[in-house]
Symmetry: C2
Amino acid sequence: MARLVLASSSPRRQDLLKMLGLDFIVIPSTIEEEHFNGLSPEEMVRELSRAKAEDVGRSVENALVIGSDTIVVLEGKILGKPANPGEAIEMLKELRNKEHTVITGLAIYDSNTGRTVVDSDQTQVFMGSIQDDDLINYVKTGEPLDKAGAYGIQGIGGAFVDWIKGSYYTVVGLPIHKLVKMLKEFGVSIF
Amino acid sequence: MARLVLASSSPRRQDLLKMLGLDFIVIPSTIEEEHFNGLSPEEMVRELSRAKAEDVGRSVENALVIGSDTIVVLEGKILGKPANPGEAIEMLKELRNKEHTVITGLAIYDSNTGRTVVDSDQTQVFMGSIQDDDLINYVKTGEPLDKAGAYGIQGIGGAFVDWIKGSYYTVVGLPIHKLVKMLKEFGVSIF
């Protein structure tokens, strides 16, 4: 049986695979998360997910490699990870009282066949009003600094989110409902 | 400063308060979770949340007591916790390929003033197709047995959910975006 490899160092993605009871190893991809020019946000996360899975997949035998990438899109603009606390504060000021979209790409590369299956999923997220003080104190917790869009819905940042339309796990960084179906196609069941 | 009390033995609610960094103690309410006759589902969870908070609140001094209750409504019918694995399988068979509603009530009782504030929140949840085998194996994990509607969105059951409309945490059992605003009214900040 092929072993499962997660081509991501994201602790959130690792936690989700553990939650599903999957056995896996982590080999982070060294692909640069640069923006792929000329692609739509959705194409971009798909291609990045594919690139991550294939990058790691070429170096491991008998493996199914999961690649994934998440971006936050606000009014057509892509928000990446904030470079510093000041940038995190600015991002959160832009996000409050508005709807934005989180898009997560997902790719599975089978190193036995060289085949890659790619998909993506998107979720609308609405943040309510957040007072400046709360936003500044939130950034001080450190939670926003390694996250696209400067918040973690699975942490204190979850209290800023009034509603979502779509999959919660797509916002966290891995659409598990799609992952489980894709893994099944490759003969891997979570049970 | 008043101490915070959670009038619920639900480990999910305890985890969420911890996630928010709140200091609290747990005193489960002994209120029977019987259906309040003649009330709408929303009124029912509100009144149960109020009853839980006030039940515990009367026995503690200088405290803010949080009461909460969650129900699952499918086509007008309330789904409680399954009595046994067979009932859990039947509930999941009813839920798949359909939209249902999760309603969570939330009450805060201030034992210093005798004042209770009550609110509720609801989220639509859509489960995709689930094969009988997967559903039976899911029930074997034990996860569904202590949960209204026989699934946990914060566990393996999350893989059965295609999308939600509303707050994820309302489905887990505590609408944290509303809780944080309510606590603020009582002078408690998460920062």
